[in-house]
């Protein structure tokens, strides 16, 4: 996992598998960033090959944290297995303060637009 800031937008990039064990440090990072006042967050899961309900919980956590301050969360993934899990969990139906993008550039553009 690495965190980078693109034009004041924090991007958490994760590679590999997100399960109930590996989710912990990602959860801590989301908590740190949102506690530090970040309104916008990009979860770059482009390199994530596996995700289960632990990953779903992370996304919901991020949305819950930015929601009260009117922020938003952008998720990046093109992996159809990952997207299928999000669909079953009902995440893909969330439209307020959350959207899924197929590239980091698209996610950054969308967040920039929201910020302006």
């Amino acid at each position: 996992m690495r965190t980078e800031i693109f034009e004041e937008i924090p991007v958490i990039s994760v590679a590999g598998e997100i399960d109930h064990f590996t989710a912990k440090p990602i959860e801590e990072r989301i908590m740190e960033l949102t506690a530090g006042g970040e309104k916008y967050l990009i979860l770059n899961f482009q390199e994530v090959s596996y995700l289960d309900s632990a990953g779903v919980a992370l996304i919901i956590l991020a949305i819950q944290k930015v929601n009260p301050v009117g922020g938003s969360v952008a998720l990046v993934s093109e992996n159809r297995n990952v997207l299928k899990i999000l669909e079953i969990a009902g995440i893909t139906q969330l439209t307020q303060n959350f959207a899924i993008f197929s590239s980091l550039d698209d996610a950054l553009s969308a967040i920039r637009e929201r910020k302006d």
């Binding site: 598998e17 399960d19 109930h20 064990f21 590996t22 596996y50 289960d52 309900s53 632990a54 779903v56 919980a57 919901i60 819950q64 297995n81 299928k84 899990i85 079953i88 969990a89």
Partner: protein, 144 residues
């Protein structure tokens, strides 16, 4: 390719073992002819069941063990995840703020054909069943 009809994996009740379990599940399901999408679904369901066993079915923490048995039962794959705890304590909660806690069980039900829970004095077994897909069109063409 040699097909072993049944394997059992025993792990200490520790989250660091989840990845290892998924690797074994993938290998077994692949050897037994399940496709990539089915294998992903089986991996998620088993991983959720094992994570559940670790979190709620292990009163002595990592001193407890979790047993995962994979069995090819002809037209279906049967997976038993057995822990050393009671199931009642881990039913999903739907309180506000804890809305995602039940999703593990929910995903298992959505991804597998059957999910069954059996509780005994020794522990709890969660049985997951994935059926093979019905014969494809090509196979029907061969039959008729």
């Amino acid at each position: 390719m040699t097909q072993v009809p049944e394997i059992t994996i025993e792990i200490p009740s520790d989250g660091s073992q989840l990845s290892r379990v998924r690797t074994a599940v993938e290998s077994f399901a692949s050897d037994h002819g399940f496709d990539e999408t089915q294998i992903y679904h089986i991996k998620v369901a088993v991983s959720e069941a094992v994570a559940n066993a670790i979190e709620h079915g292990s009163p002595r923490g990592s001193a407890n063990r979790v047993h995962i048995r994979l069995k090819d039962d002809g037209n279906k794959l049967v997976i038993d995840v057995t822990d050393e705890g009671r199931f009642r304590a881990r039913l999903p909660t739907f309180q506000p703020g804890a809305g995602y806690r039940g999703r593990g069980l929910f995903l298992m039900s959505a991804l597998m054909d059957e999910v069954d829970i059996r509780e005994t004095d020794e522990g709890t077994t969660l049985r997951l069943i994935k059926k093979r897909e019905a014969a494809g069109l090509e196979e029907w063409a061969d039959i008729f």
